[in-house]
Symmetry: C2
Subunit: 208 residues, 2 copies
DNA sequence: CGCCGTAAGTTTACGGTGTAAGATAGACAT
DNA sequence: ATGTCTATCTTACACCGTAAACTTACGGCG
């Protein structure tokens, strides 16, 4: 608070990204962000056009973490880049929904790279058309699905087991109860394997 | 406006659902909803606890359109219910993200039904654990992916072709350009087939 | 030195949001 | 008539994004 560093777009984005990764994008406000930097909200507008511009800056940082597959890499390159993209979207769960809404340049580059790689794998234009939807929907759809689940267990509950038993009574939801117990035993995040399992299934069918 | 019918939870939900299906959930406000019913915003609170309660009511209506698979229906029942759920989520594109956030009773019933059907198909508890993630992530993930795309082309553009050519120049994005042209020729919505294609692929692998 | 332009930061204000609290009015039972 | 209950409206508060105007600091130039 005392000796405050000068404001800059980079510093604003740094702070905003850290905040958003922790509290979610809906919790971000110009007033709070300015305050946490030691300035007034309106001062941010000297370095950022408006809130959308700020969020776009955050999205570009996330997009910078996901590189498209090499055009001549074939299906293995698609697999690798899909996994990397999924991991980036796991690191920033708030980003996936916003990435779908508008099309940032980085997102277009990813689309182009994916399409190029599919065509480069010998697929026809028609096949590529459908294959693209399948692969892109899997990467982003699965990440959106995962991101939606984040925060579902209030995460600051001491007695997770008790909370679960009350929310999902065995007698009314026997199978859901069983499923929940598996999650509680496996630690928080197993679904990753489901991402790769389904991805391999889809890619294999495209390779035939 | 003149002779106004008395307010009721049902009437409020009717109006809100129609409004939200047309304008999206982020455009819904208590003031606008009240006004479009001929009442003040605060009057709605006599029939609805708060805005979250109202939105929950809307989500319950969407959930009522998707029934879980019959427990003894096997993979075909899962396929049918997945397609029905996907269609419901297409009718109400705003709903999918909200359905992921909190777990409504109807959503729990769907989860339970899907799990029961998987176990009933002879899958072990461990296999069901992963299969559930794959199937549920496909249904909701794909729907989320589709919903995210809605509104991407501003939809009220006369010269769609010209807009597209400017946004996606052939020389910089040749493959994306090709893909976009395919969409323009096919009409707005082909991806549906991708949903069923991938669904069958996933279910087939579970059947082996 | 004085002057001035420019950029950064602050203050104030406006219209929007959800909703708590209180006032009002009508219907109905005692 | 009196009390009670319910639905409605009015007012008010805290928060949001941000436009507009104001203050402050600084670098260049005579």
């Amino acid at each position: 608070m005392a000796a405050r560093k000068p404001l800059s777009r980079e510093r604003i984005l740094d702070t905003a990204l850290a905040y958003v990764d922790e509290h979610g994008v809906e919790a971000l406000s110009m007033r709070k962000l300015g305050q946490s930097l030691g300035y007034e909200a309106m001062s941010l507008y000297n370095h950022v056009a408006n809130k959308d511009d700020l969020v776009d800056g955050l999205l570009d940082r996330v997009l910078a973490e996901m590189s498209p597959p090499a055009p001549d890499g074939g299906l293995p390159a698609i697999r690798a880049s899909a996994i990397a993209a999924h991991e980036a979207l796991q690191r920033h769960p708030w980003a996936a929904p916003l990435l779908m809404r508008g099309v940032r340049p980085g997102r277009m580059a990813y689309m182009e790279g994916l399409l190029a790689c599919l065509r480069g794998s010998g697929l026809s234009a028609e096949t590529t058309y459908h294959a693209y939807h399948i692969v892109d929907a899997h990467i982003f759809g699965f990440s959106l699905w995962e991101a939606g689940h984040s925060g579902s267990p209030p995460s600051h509950i001491d007695d997770m087991r008790g909370w679960f038993e009350q929310m999902v009574p065995v007698d009314r939801f026997p199978y859901l109860h069983e499923h929940g117990l598996q999650h509680l035993n496996d630690g928080p995040y197993l679904p990753v394997s489901a991402f790769e399992f389904a991805l391999d299934l889809l890619l294999e069918s495209l390779g035939k």
